[in-house]
């Protein structure tokens, strides 16, 4: 008999079995100083996440593209779905003089163009009333003092309670000063029973030294548990599904080790180059720092980590950081030359259209030694992954836009079918597509129908869009809501960031500070990268997966 029917009287209603998810227990990162999660009895089972409390959100860099294209549309879409807590106030903080009306007008213009769910005038009308603009230089104490007064007034409206979320979406050079000014104005400290949190956008430093410095400034201002270093890749549906795939299915984890896996590949291919003036930033960063240090190492840690002891933020992040910490360091020119390939594209064709070479791109130095392509062989020195190479490649002006993780299983033993002439055509490959066309596929070998024994690979393919017609929320929606709810699981922790920079810095130093840096490889725009990157895998008897 189903539990729900046990007992029909009032006395029987407590006699049922609860599953852990039924109770919507607070997940990782929920502050100890917030009692809401435990004292709102109406939350049970309605939302399987930590509760998001009303708060004031202050966005620094409010006139920028990120605010207009991503952050405010994300908050609006949360409001559309009824996920944004009632009473949330949003304050845009920026240097340019603007009225509330002008600020709102600009936000509406972009929201109409980019909002995932379209633009509903009624919801927007209600939502935008909570948005105001605050003009101040980032280094002007008076601006922060008046911001504090504004926040205090909002707090007073809420009966003295005041939760605050500061989103630093400004240019990176202002991160320090904003944090220091917040501290000087006392805005980093929450009132009893409330919280004050900060979200910091990438890039989180440009090397280990700057990351450590920034971490120091952040941690002098906010507690680590209140610091949310955003990596929007972790807000993507498939990235979140990685842990589910590995730990909610019994069939994969027994195979997820060096006994059965030959190697793994993580590819992040972009077909764009330096359009829209992005060459100015990119030429100072390069593929390794721009993408590998954060997004791709985060994906690597999710795919390679041990099962966490629980699903709390620190439970998960403890295991992720162990992966990064276990990376074998490429800290000499010889090791870098043997395991890392950097490259720049020369003029070529993308989608039939001619495109310039990297050094001819807008705002890129003609003598640039910045890599627009990088391929790295990584070795993780743990029991599970001993001897299994992980290959990461990231490049601009590759044939198409695609981010995928592929797990290549070892070949079947050389008996039976594999002992026949020609053997088995290709091993099993599990592919996790991060973007676009999120999904998972598995390649296996099958017999071609007929009287003779011929084998061919076939593919089982799961597409999110096919199986689940409903679109996923934007990564920023999920991440903003998590930050409001105090769940840091999908945000990078200080030690993760610093360990990643430590690995990257060794390579950068060899490239830019050693006496015998490995050469810069070249490839034609629109091809799949330099030949040297192919050789990197061929040395191990592997090859890049064809996307």
């Amino acid at each position: 008999m189903p539990a729900f029917l046990a007992g029909t009287g009032a006395a029987g209603y407590r006699d049922f079995i609860k599953s852990p998810l039924d109770l919507a227990l607070p997940r990782g990162g929920v502050d100890g100083n917030s009692a809401t999660a435990m004292s709102n009895p109406f939350r049970e089972d309605l939302v399987s996440r930590s509760p998001a409390e009303p708060c004031s959100i202050v966005i620094f860099g409010a006139t920028g593209d990120l605010t207009h294209r991503k952050l405010v549309p994300a908050l609006y879409n949360l409001a559309v779905d009824g996920e944004l807590p009632t009473g949330v106030k949003i304050i845009g903080f920026a240097r340019r003089e603007k009225s509330d009306a002008e600020f709102r007008e600009g936000l509406e213009l972009l929201n109409r163009k980019v909002s995932r769910s379209g633009h509903d005038d009624k919801i927007w009308g209600n939502f935008i009333q909570s948005v105001t603009y605050h003009t101040s230089e980032f280094d002007d104490p008076a601006g922060y003092k008046s911001l504090a007064e504004k926040l205090a007034a909002l707090d007073a409206e809420r009966g003295g309670k005041g939760n605050r979320l500061f989103y630093i979406a400004s240019a990176p050079e202002f991160f320090d000063v904003i944090l220091i000014q917040l501290k000087n104005a006392g805005l980093n400290e929450a009132k009893p029973g409330c919280w004050s949190r900060v979200i910091v956008e990438k890039p989180f430093g440009t090397d280990l030294a700057t990351a450590k410095h920034l971490n120091q400034v952040v941690n002098e201002t906010f507690h680590e548990k209140d610091t949310y270093r955003i990596d929007h890749y972790l807000g993507k549906e498939t990235a979140q599904n990685l842990m589910v795939l590995r730990f909610a299915n019994a069939i994969f984890e027994p195979l997820w080790n060096s006994k059965y896996i030959s190697h793994l590949q993580i590819t992040c291919a972009e077909n764009l180059g330096m359009e829209g003036g992005r060459g100015g930033y990119y030429d100072g960063a390069g593929a390794l720092r721009d993408m590998v240090q954060n997004h791709l190492l985060q994906l690597l840690s999710l795919v390679a980590m041990e099962p966490p002891t629980d699903l709390t933020a620190d439970g998960v992040r403890d295991e992720k950081v162990k992966v990064i910490r276990s990376l074998r360091q490429w800290d000499t020119p010889e090791k870098v030359a043997a395991n890392v390939v950097r490259g720049q594209y020369t003029a070529g064709y993308i989608d039939g259209n001619p495109v310039p070479g990297y050094r001819e791109e807008d705002r890129v130095s003609p003598e640039s030694d910045t890599e627009a392509y990088v391929a790295v062989r990584l070795l993780i020195d743990t029991w599970r992954w001993s001897g299994v190479p992980f290959y990461i490649r990231m490049g601009k002006r590759l044939p198409k836009k695609s981010t995928e993780i592929s797990v290549h299983f070892k070949d079947a033993p050389c008996v039976l079918f594999n002992a026949l002439t020609g053997g088995v055509p290709g091993g099993n490959v599990l592919v996790i597509r991060i973007q676009p066309d999120e999904g998972i596929s598995l390649r296996m070998v099958s017999k071609i129908p007929g009287t003779s024994l011929r084998l061919e690979p076939v593919k089982m393919d799961f597409h999110y869009a096919t199986s689940f017609g409903k679109g996923s929320p934007e990564a920023y929606e999920r991440l903003l809501l998590d930050a409001i709810a105090g769940d840091a699981t999908l945000f990078a922790r200080r030690d993760e960031v610093e360990e990643a920079w430590k690995f990257i810095d060794h390579i950068e130093h060899v490239w830019h500070q050693s006496n015998n840096p490995p050469p810069m490889a070249e490839f034609v725009a629109g091809s799949w990268g330099p030949r040297e990157a192919d050789h990197l895998l061929q040395q191990d008897g592997n090859q890049w997966r064809r996307l």
């Binding site: 046990a6 029987g12 709102n40 009824g82 066309d437 409903k470």
Partner: protein, 370 residues
């Protein structure tokens, strides 16, 4: 843009050993697809997929839609066409006419939609029209055409009947009902209780409960606000306005409030009254209004604080409001769906064990007896 393709043919296959073919469904019924002999359904489905290799067959569940209402097959086929845009399934539609002579007709079709404007994704639909005494035939017909390994969601439309047997319930994963459509909900719940003795994992999804989802989420969200939380121990009154056809939705919402807040029943002259853990007596005002949506108002009043969720019939959003002294805040959130197809879509999208419903159901059933 999504497109819908209904496969159709003019060929009609008569059913062997059936003396009487019901005339309730037209001879040719393009809405239901190709009429086929029951014994050949699987092979006909295979042929259907072979017609166009570009299509992808997607299915996450078996969805059986059962009705004894005349004309239900055509209505439900239209519902499935919409439902499959977001919920891939093998749909099995069943219409029963017990009064007529025994007969069985079957149709197959596929509902196809463009996924992201590129690929045609299709879901199979098998429709059965059964007449005469059908209990055993119906059950076996359904069993024979389930997609293996996929869960069975059984949507029972209208009043329960003796076709709902323990044997049938034993293979269900979810049973979708609408207790608001029942003349005697107390008796119907007892019937489900009797039929589900052997299926302890059965998940019940009641449209009456789903109709209050956004009201409940609204209340939960408002009580995240510290001002509302502080007022919770002092709540002294609950007011709910509902449509007379949806008293079950109002009572289930009331049962939910009482259980979650820890309110005990209070013996009083009133139909419903509670006492809180802090000893505050709570009055309940239930107002039936024929002009109302299923739920149109829910107010909790405490010391100096009002927490309110309101919905104007026909509006696209509900309003959440909190007033505590000078502090006032409000927001909009999506309205609860009202159409059966939307309710099922929402239930499927939320998934889970529906354990909160399991939790409130005994208290709700007790209220039905009040």
């Amino acid at each position: 843009m999504a497109a819908t393709v209904i496969l159709m043919t003019t060929a009609k296959t008569s059913i062997a050993n059936m003396d009487t073919i019901s005339t309730a469904i037209p001879e040719v019924c393009p809405e239901l697809g190709i009429e086929v002999p029951v014994a050949t359904i699987d092979s006909e489905l295979r042929k259907l997929w072979e017609q166009d290799e570009a299509r992808t067959n997607a299915s996450l569940m078996n969805l059986v839609v059962f009705s004894e209402k005349p004309g239900a097959l055509l209505e439900n086929s239209a519902i499935i066409r919409e439902l499959t845009r977001e919920h891939s399934c093998r749909a099995i539609l069943v219409e029963i006419d017990s009064a007529a002579e025994p007969s069985l007709r079957a149709w197959i079709t596929a509902h196809c939609h463009l996924a992201e404007g590129r690929k045609s994704v299709c879901c199979e639909q098998i429709s059965f029209y059964l007449t005469g005494r059908v209990t055993g035939r119906f059950r076996n017909t359904v069993f024979a055409h389930l997609n293996s390994d996929l869960p069975l969601v059984f949507w029972w439309q209208g009043e329960l009947s003796d076709i709902l047997t323990e044997r049938l319930v034993s293979v269900m994963d979810r049973l979708v009902i609408d207790s608001s459509s029942w003349a005697d909900p107390a008796a119907s719940f007892t019937m489900i209780e009797n039929c589900s003795q052997e299926n302890s994992d059965l998940i019940i999804q009641d449209h009456a409960w789903t109709r209050s989802l956004q009201f409940r989420i609204g209340i939960a969200s408002l009580f995240d606000d510290p001002a509302a939380q502080m007022a919770l121990p002092s709540i002294h009154s609950v007011a709910i306005t509902y449509h007379p056809d949806h008293r079950n939705t109002a009572l289930q919402t009331l049962a939910w409030l009482a259980i979650q807040a820890g309110w005990k029943d209070l013996m009083s002259a009133a139909e419903f009254a509670f006492v809180s853990n802090s000893g505050v007596a709570i009055t309940v005002t239930l107002t039936a209004n024929p002009e109302s949506a299923p739920l149109s108002l829910l107010i909790l009043r405490g010391e100096g604080t009002d927490v309110r969720v309101t919905y104007q019939k026909g509006a696209s959003h509900i309003q959440r409001q909190i007033e505590s002294g000078a502090y006032k805040a409000s927001s909009l959130s999506p309205a609860d769906p009202t159409m059966p197809a939307e309710l099922v879509a929402l239930q499927l999208a939320r998934g889970g064990k529906n354990s909160l419903y399991q939790k409130i159901l005994p208290r709700f059933r007790a209220m039905l007896k009040s």
